[in-house]
Point group: C2
Chain length 430, copies 2
């Protein structure tokens, strides 16, 4: 059996994706939404999230997978291989959706993985290593301000386990209360039961829309992700005395808003100083208090996002930003009342062996592919901590994501499902 | 009678201010508020404003003044002089209060003027020129976004009359509807009936808290205002393409937020370039859209306030700001979608003759005084268009204003009332 399978291949003709089924599933899943279509709002442990989870489990069961859930609701669907004691090959993504976003982010990595299993079953494939589909809990930070709760905890983050004991949502509901209301009656001491050991998986592959314009612009159907840039988030507060815009003369001022403006420009400067195209930094939030035209800002809050595929280079930028914040506060006589690195996850490299396998699979299916960097993060960023990892990107309309206009055609999704299926088959036989 | 009066004086002993009465009036007036005490919220033509107006009219009547109102509710209380056909001497201020502000801004200029009349009456003074107390309608821009509606219209602003025909408040209520609900059933064509001719008053004097810290810090009871700085307000919008903070690389960005940050710093630079201490400029509002940590700002709105006592110098700063906004937009590839000078009132100088009279009055009352500039604007800024003008400042706690902590002691107010009374008496006899 082994020698037979190691020669397994899917040809463009034998890889039969159920295009109509996939189209219907995307629409059905999108209907579990707290926003009117085409927008999707599906927040962790909400009633709509519970219905969507039930739907995913039913698709897994229909695909003949053995379904289990862990304590926080990561859902696993397993197809036992002939050597079921070997570490399995896994694929998956998320189905939660930030308010008023779209139908494809995460979703095609879950529905696509289930359909890849169906493709392999229809083709007569028999796995050696078991194959698993994983639906991760809460990739988006919507409800508790923490991204990738499922994959991060699964990868053994004690830091996250501690944080989950503290957090509440906007309605002051704790993580545990929320989980209970969704049918996951966990207690603090159960969180570590979600952790998986480093050898748990042979490999992990995630299918995802690009969330950028490159593949569409270049007309390439498959992106092979070689690295995932990871964001660091920084929250900064400056405080000064404020005062009346007419009454306080310029030498007497310590304007928190101008300190924020200077820091925003310093962020850009330090990012450009890196000299590398992969270093990016953004000030997406500047809030001034009291925010009146005739008041000198007495408080300024700014939020900084900086990313790179090289952790040291990104952290060097963070350090420069910190020094600038201190210097600006000194020069302006304002107080730097907060400089908090909210998160600072390390970037991840794809496994070169998985990358090669994905490229082979695309080639055998006559699909052009292109190595690229994922500049958004994904559950794969955390799966990389416990498993060799790879990601497959497909084009999406204008690179749009996180809005109702997000779109990928079923043809593009089908290409991704085929490459995923063949990749999983190849990895299963390793 | 004339020669008798020209030697009239008030000594520290003969100037008898009703301290308890003044204290009670301040508290009673503060009780007409839509915010719980000590905060005061009293918005133009609201029920509380109507009650406060009734209260002021009753105090005028008790003081023996002849009360009339114009079409928009400027209230005049008149004490006829012996030569009642001469242009009268006037004093007054406003009683409207921005949300969650204090008890003293404007109020002591109205209650203080009425009490100054009472002081003069108790001292046996007989005016030659008539004396008038004026309560101006809506000095604060709270309801319709326009400051000094009463004094601006009274001073003959056709521009304001046109604007009032267009404006609505936050509930879409027009100025005329609002006025009608407060008992002023005016029509568009009645607005010009409020205009006063240039020779209507011999002089106008306003008593006001300093709204700055100088008098308190220096322990000086009386400020003699020599000039009122006038603000220009500028509203600016930048627009760019926005995008994902991870996916859009630095060279592809046109970040509206960074354009706003650059302009904020340019405002400061251009103000400092004036080289004069009286030039100030403030960016009190910066708003970014969509305002998320992982989104490049696609829109930035900023509001700029710049003031000077020299109009040309202030307008030179405005021009530099405009050129910077254009240059920044070009350099960053963003669109300068709005650069609107919302208002640009000329500054005003006090009458040197009134200034000298106020200084004499303070000296005769054994009160130290100090010439100073009003860096906040007041109804006096507009009264200066039709009358020689002067202002008397008294200290206020820490320079606080526009918040519940705003405070001036009855002793400090009493000093101001005495100087005002003697000044009005002297001007009446000119
Ligand atoms: Mn997402
Ligand atoms: Mn996603
Ligand atoms: Mn005010
Ligand atoms: Mn005032």
């Amino acid at each position: 059996a082994h020698s037979l399978h190691s020669h397994f291949t899917l040809s463009p003709s034998t890889a039969s994706v159920d295009i109509e089924g996939l189209r219907r599933q995307i629409e059905e899943l999108a209907s579990f939404s707290d926003a009117p279509g085409p927008a999707v709002t599906r927040v962790l442990y909400s009633d709509k999230d519970v219905l969507a989870r039930r739907y995913i489990k039913s698709l897994m069961v229909q695909a003949g997978l053995l379904v289990r859930e862990d304590a926080i609701g990561n859902i696993y669907g397993r197809w036992d291989g002939s050597e079921a004691d070997l570490p399995p090959v896994a694929s998956g993504s998320h189905i939660d959706a930030i308010p008023y976003s779209g139908k494809y982010d995460g979703v095609i990595g879950v529905l696509g993985a289930i359909e890849a299993i169906n493709v392999l079953k229809r083709s007569g494939f028999q796995p050696k290593r078991s194959l698993e589909v994983i639906m991760f809990t809460s990739e988006e930070p919507t409800r508790f301000g923490i991204s990738c709760i499922g994959s991060r905890l699964l990868a053994g983050s004690e830091e996250l386990a501690d944080a989950l004991k503290q957090v509440v949502d906007g309605q002051n509901i704790s993580f545990f209360e929320a989980a209970r209301s969704a049918g996951y009656p966990i207690h603090q001491e159960d969180l570590s039961s979600v952790f998986l050991k480093k050898e748990s998986y042979h490999s992990f592959v995630e299918l995802h829309i690009e969330q950028g314009p490159i593949l569409e612009e270049e007309g390439i159907p498959i992106g092979i992700v070689t690295a995932i840039a990871a964001p660091a988030s920084i929250s900064v507060d400056f405080e000064g005395n404020g005062g009346h815009a007419g009454a306080v003369l310029m030498p007497a001022r310590n304007d928190a808003g101008l300190a924020a403006a200077e820091l925003a420009l310093a962020v850009e400067k330090h990012v450009l100083e890196s000299g590398c195209i992969d270093t990016v930094g953004t000030v997406g939030v500047i809030e001034l208090h009291p925010g009146a035209i005739n008041s000198i800002p007495s408080k300024a809050h700014i939020e900084i996002d900086t990313r790179d595929i090289d952790e040291q280079r990104r952290n060097a930028v963070i350090n420069k930003i910190r020094l600038s914040a201190i210097r600006i506060a000194e020069n302006r006589g304002v107080t730097l009342s907060k400089f908090k690195i909210v998160n600072q996850d390390p970037p991840a490299l794809s496994s070169s062996s998985i990358t090669a396998t994905m490229q082979d699979a695309a080639r055998q299916l006559n699909l052009h592919s292109k190595p690229m960097i994922s500049r958004a993060y994904h559950d794969s960023l955390f799966m990389a901590r416990i498993s060799p990892m790879g990601m497959i990107f497909i084009p999406c309309y204008k690179g749009y994501s996180h809005k109702p206009e997000e779109f990928a055609s079923v043809e593009e999704i089908t290409n991704g499902v085929k490459v995923l299926a063949l990749t999983l088959a190849k990895l299963s036989l390793e």
